[in-house]
Symmetry: C2
Subunit: 344 residues, 2 copies
DNA sequence: ATATTATGCGTATACGTATACCCTATGGTC
DNA sequence: GACCATAGGGTATACGTATACGCATAATAT
């Protein structure tokens, strides 16, 4: 529209045109009720005509609120590689959308985890709070989290929601998800179910999924065989190696529950290479429902996490934390997506 | 380390402790050479001890430079879906890394394209410049770009680097890539090569890839058959539909060059469903080298774009533009990744 | 020895907004 | 008719940093 090619208008310009003072402009545009309706309407009209925008820096400096959140990925195995776990990417979409809805900007960083996050983002007033995402070495992670808590950094994280978790956490019901997967495999007649994924306390989410599987099996009168659990981190290679090791052990099994789709995909490759038929010989279930899960052959049955709610809850929890409102951990239900890899 | 639990230190605090004035602190920390080495060292030491960080808002307000870039995705087909083209995600990784290296923060948004970007990011001093990414309706896109140019918004975009392109552009050598793909198919003995992808000027990148294919064929004495080109947007469904239509036409072909991996994957599914053997009956080449390309069966031969350089060049070009340095469009070479879908 | 320039730093102020505080005119209360 | 509350908006100032300018002192030139 009719826009001045001149310098950017300030609240003083508007004030002058409206015949009021600058603070009145500020009040009017921020919705203060101590401005008459007529004055406000006039100011808003002029602001629109001039294409006025509040200067973010000045506003943040004065109010000490940036209306910006920082999203940080924590993932240690691939410092240089641009390969990001596809699961987190769909989370990213969800979070950006929610930030936009709530009127917040989103700053993102894939940098390696270091101790200076509070400095880099909060102390320098780049963002009001931090969202943490990522798998990785949980022990290392944990010490960093403790540091953040100590520094009184405002943050929320995605992860395993257990009692001892540090800071404010939002996550899926991993135990429940494990049960879903286990029950489904049992329903289709499988009795000896292997689990691929780190079950130590280095990876609480995987641990929970395994616990859920075990509970489902016990509920059906089956006893989980610890020898059928193999460690794996969330990568295709790791899944491939774990499945090969399992096969090499000679221990029979008729199903695999993998702690992530990447693991499952690697495992399926190993099984196929070993001449096994899927799902007749071995049924496979993954976790995350990444896009590739629908492309494998057979297509992969998996547990889908509620990404849409995840982003909403993460952002909402963090904003409540910033406002010092009461806020509790959230646990999200999951959904089983049945595909060919368990279709008998 | 020994950190005051009190309010955040300012440059005045440092100045007081160092026995100098606040501006000297600012100069010292910003590397001005009109500060003696001794004074600077002392100031830096105190700043470190106090865990001092420059306040981003105050700094940006005063200097009128935010040291922040905004990354905007433009993709119209899926306004609500969180499904993002995997290709752009690897670009995202590359860009974030480069921003970090250059000392810039990255603001990201997946919002729908609208006319107010300059307002939302540049005019409000949220960022110094904008990076545009995305496929989509090019005609619509084009009008928006013209608007940005008119508003003197500082931006750079990823796309087809042709003479009439608007604004500063960085992109792959799509014509050259098409030639690479075509030559490879010809080398393995294919003569009737189909192309799946929009070849109209709605999608200049796809158009260029098709042009490269045609040039390769003509160079080998073959004449491209226009009937073997079928429109498709970058999605699996679209690729599936296009391939089915091609099969239904009854026109024989022994190879497909798809304008993107997603299209190729959809096409492979259609071919398999039709009982054709890959690559014996039909060889397939995709584009982008998304992670899933290595998971299909057969694994997909594809053209890889140089993501690492892409991020570097985009960021570098934009920063040069911000500094009013001379900057030109860049064209990046591509690399053919041979996999099973063309292994005869 | 005087003029000249560079070095190192302090003084003053601008960046644009938000908010605490104060003031003026109403209107209603007894 | 003196009294107080309220609406509506002005005045002053703070947020923390960066930069134009000026002014010494010291270094160099002539």
């Amino acid at each position: 529209m009719g826009r001045q090619p001149s310098a950017k208008p300030t609240s003083f310009d508007i004030a002058y045109l409206a015949g009021v003072s600058q603070p009145t402009v500020s009040r009017a545009l921020r919705g203060s009720k101590s401005v008459s309706a007529a004055t406000r309407a006039n100011i808003e009209r002029i602001a629109r005509e001039l294409n006025y925008t509040v200067d973010k820096n000045a506003s943040s400096l004065r109010s000490q609120r940036t209306h910006t959140l920082a999203l940080l990925f924590f993932e240690d195995p691939t410092p240089d590689q641009s390969m990001i776990n596809p699961f987190f990417l769909s989370m990213l979409g969800s979070i950006t959308r929610q930030c936009a809805l709530r009127g917040y900007d989103l700053l993102i960083s894939f940098q390696q985890m270091h101790n200076d996050w509070h400095v880099a983002y909060q102390d320098s007033h780049r963002s009001d709070g931090i969202i943490l995402l990522g798998y990785g070495d949980y022990q290392l992670y944990r010490s960093k989290l403790e540091h953040l808590v100590e520094m009184d950094t405002k943050f929320v994280r995605w992860g395993s929601v257990s009692d001892d978790s540090i800071g404010l956490t939002v996550g899926s019901d991993n135990v429940g998800a494990g049960m879903q997967a286990g029950r489904h495999l049992i329903e289709i007649g499988r009795r000896t179910i292997a689990f691929l994924g780190d079950a130590s306390d280095h990876a609480p989410e995987f641990q929970d999924r395994y616990a859920g599987l075990c509970r489902a099996m016990e509920g059906a009168g089956l006893s989980p065989d610890p020898a059928l659990q193999r460690d794996a981190i969330s990568s295709e290679e790791s899944g491939h190696a774990a499945a090969r090791a399992l096969l090499a052990s000679g221990r029979p099994f008729d199903a695999i529950f993998a702690a992530s789709d990447l693991i499952a995909i690697g495992a399926m490759r190993a099984l196929t290479e070993a001449g096994l038929r899927l799902p007749q010989d071995v049924a496979v279930i993954g976790f995350d429902d990444i896009p590739a899960a629908n492309l494998t052959s057979p297509t992969l049955t998996t547990v889908m996490q509620d990404m849409k709610s995840a982003g909403e809850l993460l952002v909402d929890a963090l904003l409540r934390r910033l406002d010092n409102l009461p806020v509790e951990r959230s646990v999200l239900p999951t959904r089983l997506i049945k595909r060919q890899s368990t279709a008998v």
